[in-house]
């Protein structure tokens, strides 16, 4: 059922491949670290329970092909990816959202943008309204970009003298969705791709709602590269821009049904709001 992206039509760009750092070129493999627990961006395939698939996997595949490399897309815990960038992993592609604080630790090359989407129990029994969040209880993935946005919203509620948003943080987005489906929270919010995918998986037990206010904007996702690896960062940006221009990204996002994730140009360490 996963879209079948075919990287064969992508050809190797010798000019770009020539810029590869020596150790990668010699190995002939692009090693990508990812936590593979965030469908549809990256998850473990149903077929054999081993192979990762998802949007990020297709993107990594396209990049590797462009550079004339084989792709080694490896699963790792989030805590294990970041310190090992530049040593164990060449790139980290795991739907990382870019923030100013994170930019101090790693280099990011932006490659997609993510809008938010709400999920509520089918039929919206709690009469949740995306434009009136104060006093609601919201299940959320702990540490996610959307948690920070909600914290701002909650702050606004308090300033306006309204009750704050009650956040219930979970280790995984799946646990947050389970809580909503079981009536344990009014709603949950995450990236549009994720929520859309989850709603489809839920066999009609969940429904989605478009966000309003601050959550209506877009956040940038980035490919993480070790801070000291400037050359590789620039190369990744060039490759990404080439793939954007060639329409490969548009095609991948289209296949996964998230056209609005496409960005016009990839930037190195882009300026973001927070």
């Amino acid at each position: 059922e996963a879209p079948n992206f075919n990287p064969d039509k992508i050809t190797t760009d010798p000019a770009l491949a020539a810029k590869l750092p020596e150790h990668i070129a010699k190995a002939g493999v692009l090693v990508v670290g990812s936590d593979t627990a965030y469908a549809p961006w990256e998850y473990i395939s149903e077929k054999d329970g081993k192979t990762p698939e998802g949007i990020d996997v297709d993107i990594a595949e396209a990049m590797a092909k462009t550079l004339g490399l084989k792709l080694d897309f490896r699963t790792a815990a989030f805590d294990g990816i970041l310190p090992a960038l530049g040593a164990k992993y060449d790139l980290g592609i795991s739907a990382f959202s870019i923030s100013n604080e994170r930019l101090k630790a790693v280099n990011f090359v932006s490659y997609s943008q993510t809008g938010a989407l709400w999920a509520v129990k089918a039929g919206n029994p709690k009469a949740f309204k995306p434009d009136e969040l104060c006093g609601r209880n919201v299940a959320i993935q702990s540490g996610s970009y959307f948690q920070r946005l909600l914290q701002d919203e909650s702050q606004a509620c308090v300033s306006a003298g309204k009750p704050e948003i009650e956040m219930i943080p979970f280790a995984t987005q799946a646990e947050a969705l389970t809580r909503v489906a079981a009536d344990g929270a009014d709603a949950t919010v995450s990236g549009s791709a994720t929520i859309g995918y989850a709603a489809k998986q839920s066999n009609g037990r969940l429904q989605t709602m478009r966000p309003a206010g601050k959550l209506g904007g877009f956040g940038l996702n980035g490919i993480a590269i070790a801070k000291k690896d400037t050359a590789l960062t620039e190369l990744v940006a060039e490759v990404t821009n080439k793939l954007i221009v060639d329409g490969v990204y548009k095609e991948i996002y289209g296949m996964w049904g998230i056209d609005d994730s496409n960005i016009p140009v990839a930037e190195i360490n882009p300026k973001v709001k927070d």
Partner: protein, 304 residues
């Protein structure tokens, strides 16, 4: 028995007074163990070069460590972690004692219940258990006393009862009780049967016998593995995010790491605190062992 004290082969005295009163003591030359010293030097050198590497390796980001090790949210996390540990161990110890008594009951249903409890809580992962405790209020919104297929008699909103803190403590405590029950069983089995009979002969009742005679003696065997379990519990509190309970040490450091994208120094912060608390617990264990060893360990009976 302390092995080291019992084996005179190795009781080689260090330099000592060479006479006591009028007695000229033997001048004993200990055996040399050149191999051991080489091994020791090797170990020391390994430790030093490791420490040197750790201290200078930039991956450890010691500046970030220093910045956050005493941050208020970390300190608060330490407090909650200690609180959870203590509360959950208290729950676990109470239930474990009950389980040991139930297993010794003459009522087969109580015995079966105890066995089942131990089997179930030892058998399933604590993360799963915690998740279900978190979902408890959702899955069973009302606890109500009702006729099996009839109407409700008394009801209570579960949400009031099972707050995240309660769910965390109950979840950790129930899981731990099963492990402690096994430890306690071994401890009580080690007591000489004559102790029970002597107490019975005095006309003491079962409850008093347990409390005054059996428990204090069992403690000697129980304390070291229970120390293990307490230290294990300390680390297990990091799983309470499953409930979700979000004030413990691990959550606090994870949240910072997630924001900064620097997991290693924050793991070191958490590790530093866990190690500190463990050290405290080990000191406590030492004194507990000494306390319950009184009359037995401190004054070693002669053996023939």
């Amino acid at each position: 028995m302390d092995i080291e004290k019992a084996a005179p082969d190795r009781l080689v005295p260090t330099r000592q007074a060479d006479r006591v009163g009028a007695v000229k003591l033997n001048e004993v030359v200990p055996r040399r163990h050149p191999g051991r010293w080489v091994a020791t030097l090797l170990l020391l050198w390994l430790a030093i070069s490791f420490a040197q590497n750790v201290a200078t390796n930039e991956n450890f980001h010691w500046d970030i460590f220093a910045q956050y090790v005493f941050a208020p949210q970390v300190i608060r996390g330490v407090g909650w972690t200690i609180l959870l540990t203590v509360a959950a161990m208290a729950v676990a110890i109470s239930i474990a004692l009950l389980l040991v008594v139930m297993r010794g009951s003459d009522n087969p249903i109580l015995r079966t219940c105890a066995w089942f409890w131990i089997w179930f809580f030892r058998g399933t992962p604590v993360y799963t258990q915690l998740l279900f405790w978190g979902l408890f209020a959702v899955l069973f919104p009302r606890i109500s006393l009702s006729l099996p297929f009839g109407g409700e008699i008394v009801g209570l909103d579960t949400k009031m009862l099972v707050t995240p803190a309660v769910a965390a403590i109950v979840g950790l405590g129930f899981n731990e009780s099963a492990y402690l029950a096994e430890i306690f069983r071994a401890g009580f089995n080690a007591i000489d049967r004559g102790q029970l009979e002597a107490a019975q002969a005095l006309g003491m009742r079962q409850g008093r016998i347990w409390r005054r005679i059996l428990l204090p003696q069992a403690m000697r065997v129980i304390v070291p593995p229970t120390g293990n379990e307490t230290i294990g519990m300390l680390k297990m509190t990091s799983l309470v995010l499953a409930v979700p309970f979000t004030l413990d040490l691990m959550f606090a450091t994870n949240a910072i790491a997630n924001r900064l994208y620097l997991p290693v120094p924050l793991l070191l912060v958490a590790g530093f605190w866990y190690l500190s608390i463990t050290s405290l617990l080990m000191v406590g264990q030492y004194y507990l062992e000494r306390h319950f060893g009184k009359g037995v360990d401190t004054i070693r009976a002669r053996t023939e």
